[in-house]
């Protein structure tokens, strides 16, 4: 059976404890969103498919009058997750409108490209800050034996800070082109 990577996100998210579709969406938004997002339009149909395939199992868990279904991973689901984790990763995509604008910046007077770099830098610093604000929560969970979410989160912080620093360097290079040659 062929499963999408998003299916494995769901398997991973229910692998420690049963969760509802809504909870999964919230978790994804708090954690993997920066390198793998998922929408309701993916999550709910996928929960149905995984349930029919026997990889997860839905259990009614209403809160008051509002009905609610939480899904738990089955032994087959756990096996499928582990089998997937052992395959080398194959999807690497990026969509960066800032780099695109920088690439075509020759169509504008040079001093205007600086504005794009500044906006990119501000954005990256903002993301880094947001990730930092999540860090204490991830650190708390780290004590329970799973170091990977924290490792990935810190990687995200480092990446955004590295990117911001690159933008700064490129801005300096644009403002003083001679400097590049002096240092090389």
């Amino acid at each position: 059976m062929e499963l999408s990577a998003t299916a494995y996100v769901i398997l991973g998210m229910v692998s420690r404890e049963p969760r509802s579709g809504y909870e999964i969406k919230g978790l994804v938004d708090d954690t993997t969103r920066f390198f793998w997002a998922a929408s309701y339009g993916q999550i709910y149909p996928e929960l149905k498919r995984l349930s029919e395939a026997g990889l997860i199992e839905g259990v009614d868990a209403p809160r008051g009058e509002r009905k609610r279904t939480v899904y738990a991973i089955t032994p087959e689901g756990r096996a499928a997750l582990q089998q997937w984790l052992r395959q080398p990763p194959g999807i690497y995509e990026m969509r960066e409108e800032g780099l695109l604008k920088l690439f075509f910046a020759g169509a504008l007077p040079p001093e205007e490209a600086v504005a794009t770099l500044r906006a990119m830098r501000e954005h990256r610093l903002g993301v880094a800050e947001r990730l930092r604000s999540i860090e204490p929560k991830a650190l708390a969970k780290d004590g329970e034996g799973d170091p990977f979410p924290l490792m990935v989160l810190r990687g995200g912080i480092e990446f955004n800070e590295w990117f911001a620093e690159w933008c700064e360097r490129m801005e300096a290079q644009l403002l003083d082109p001679a400097r590049e040659k002096r240092s090389s």
Copy 2:
């Protein structure tokens, strides 16, 4: 008129000289692909739309019996491109299956996560190398006054090398967890 970012990729690609859809696809694959890809399924319909909107203009330029249309940017198209370049960028997406697998790696015995990090590192080193092989071509064009494609290309090389180095560090951390505490 609302245009997608991919429409501006096309405007940018025909802004220096007229090109066919096939040439645009090839150019994108050689340059912006790493932060903004485009498929034939986007390019050809978009060429039609941009042409109808008067932002580009198609001219028959057959090669022998094979018909061929090259598109040139119009003054309105150039204005639209510049106006877009002046807006702050707003799309930042990433899909990294490797980080996803690392995030869920707690579901496997610890020594197996190392394999994911190694695969990620190999991949990044490979991309960096491929980008380096393009560098001389970009460097040649740099002399003609547009420094931005080369700047973006070198940014891509740096990014991939930074990422590879991060993978290496994380691998070392996994293999010797005590080290992390000693250095902090």
